[in-house]
Symmetry: C2
Amino acid sequence: MTKKLGSIRDVAKETGLSIATISRVMNGATNVSPETREKVLLASKKLNYLPNPAARTLTTKKTKIIAAIIPTIEHSVYAKFIAGMEQTLAKRGYSLVFAISNSDEEQEKDAAEKLLGMGAEAFVLSGGRHDPELIELLTRRGVQFVFTSIWAPDGDVPTIGYDNFALARGAIHHLHRMGHQDIAVVHGPEVLSDRTTWRKRGAKSAESAEIRLAFFEEELSVGGGKLAAYSMLKHKTKFTAALCLSDVMALGVYTAHSENNLVVPDDLSVMGFDNLDWSVHISPPLTTIDLPARKMGESAVTSLMDYLEDGTPIERKFFDAKIIERASVKKL
Amino acid sequence: MTKKLGSIRDVAKETGLSIATISRVMNGATNVSPETREKVLLASKKLNYLPNPAARTLTTKKTKIIAAIIPTIEHSVYAKFIAGMEQTLAKRGYSLVFAISNSDEEQEKDAAEKLLGMGAEAFVLSGGRHDPELIELLTRRGVQFVFTSIWAPDGDVPTIGYDNFALARGAIHHLHRMGHQDIAVVHGPEVLSDRTTWRKRGAKSAESAEIRLAFFEEELSVGGGKLAAYSMLKHKTKFTAALCLSDVMALGVYTAHSENNLVVPDDLSVMGFDNLDWSVHISPPLTTIDLPARKMGESAVTSLMDYLEDGTPIERKFFDAKIIERASVKKL
DNA sequence: CTGTTAGCGCATTCAG
DNA sequence: CTGAATGCGCTAACAG
């Protein structure tokens, strides 16, 4: 079934030109006469010719491949992130290869080796906690990389993301401004994500005589949120609000409440984190924090492409994320 | 920053062996003495050597790249599909490149050209409706491709998926068995997806004296589902059930009902399509059809890899999808 | 078990 | 503006 594809030489033969000229046309060089260009383009179409990327890479030493490793794709924040990267890269002729790490440092490292073996020239990593061997591998090979979804003012590796600590702290303060003093913080496993750790710390930093927190850790899923809510309901403290460090878990809290004939926000105010698509459509609409995942993806790969092309140094980038006030938080 | 990477020749020099032997070790050939292998592996590690994929591809003419074009990634069915493909490919040393078509045939064609230019050896396409030029391009270049998410007993292109027609028909029959006779069918734009067309036809095929249907088309989103529900409520017929051709739209129907103090399933039974993660966690849990997206992805790329390696002909594959009965459908 | 050699298809000098 | 020659790093015969 696989037909022999035309090579640059076939086009040269067809047009009576040299392969150098064909190459010039295919690469958009300006020093080619319009008629020659036309002739070449025509012959290319006719012969069904497309430059062989491997051969091209071999001489230019540029693959135009950027790699991303994400914890999971079955979470729309990452899906948006990926979509942002893919579409931005495509515009400039780059392509994205990615792998899923399942939040496992070892899987991440293995994936990186594979991606490197595919010719990835730069990496987008999620979060700032990684296997030291991975960092060393990338560094040793001189492959540029950035950390995303986090923000750190200093450190060797540029970060492109938002300040999880400040956002969670701000969320607690927001709930406090709405009159809440006993707040449950529902979150996923810290082991799996340093973003969770930062968010948790940020929340904790807001504790005071007037703001009392309790933390509930469960699996990062709707089911996990439900479990957390059940623990919360059994807790000695009567919480008036819950900050869920992920919208997904907030949905679980909703479910647990409706199962117990409890009403959000009358019995409990709920605040999420992520602003997933459906968060505005559930009932009541969820107050949450809008994370600019798509923009972050665009920004990360843009910096990387600029670096690869002109050596433009990569700057850390800070994205603000706003609280979206909706009906799930009630003023006391 | 980019350091010069060691080449096969450096390793040869380091070990005092020939490049052929290095190549053998790197490719896992068996005819190499264990000590030699050790020595090579050691030197490779020391010199930070990894075979250059472009050079390898240039001689083997195999890129081990498979391409997928999907309508959107911000929909967990596709996310699962992608995840299934990626992880299956990775196990056999293949990689996935993908592009997002936004359900636009032209964008799909452009993406395909780009992916082809990257060295994709086979394609996974979604649905069965595509720009004829795209099909011709792929065919002319001898690139194998499959259609997914649909099922067709015959036709030139192998399909790997489920029978949307039969599933939607089965869904209507299920609702009828539960005592429903006036059923609203809520769906996304047919223009954008032949899967929608098949599902709609399947539903229509179940119409009879006892089963009366009305169709409501809106954007394929939670918001679209909500709009459809409002139209439905204004309709002269009093529907007792709604079949949403996507869970996402079912969520919109839920929202519209709760906004009107109507209760699912007492005022309206709702059935979805997709079995998205959260469908079991919303209230009431959604009766829906579980689509085996992940398995479908695994199967599609497995067939393609087998074809690429041994020329194994690609067989169409049929996946069954089961109705998951939950509380959103009430027996009348 | 190991070495030698010949391209793979292209971009890129350097001439003209 | 165009052509001829070179080599990128590797695998695949072919020898031994």
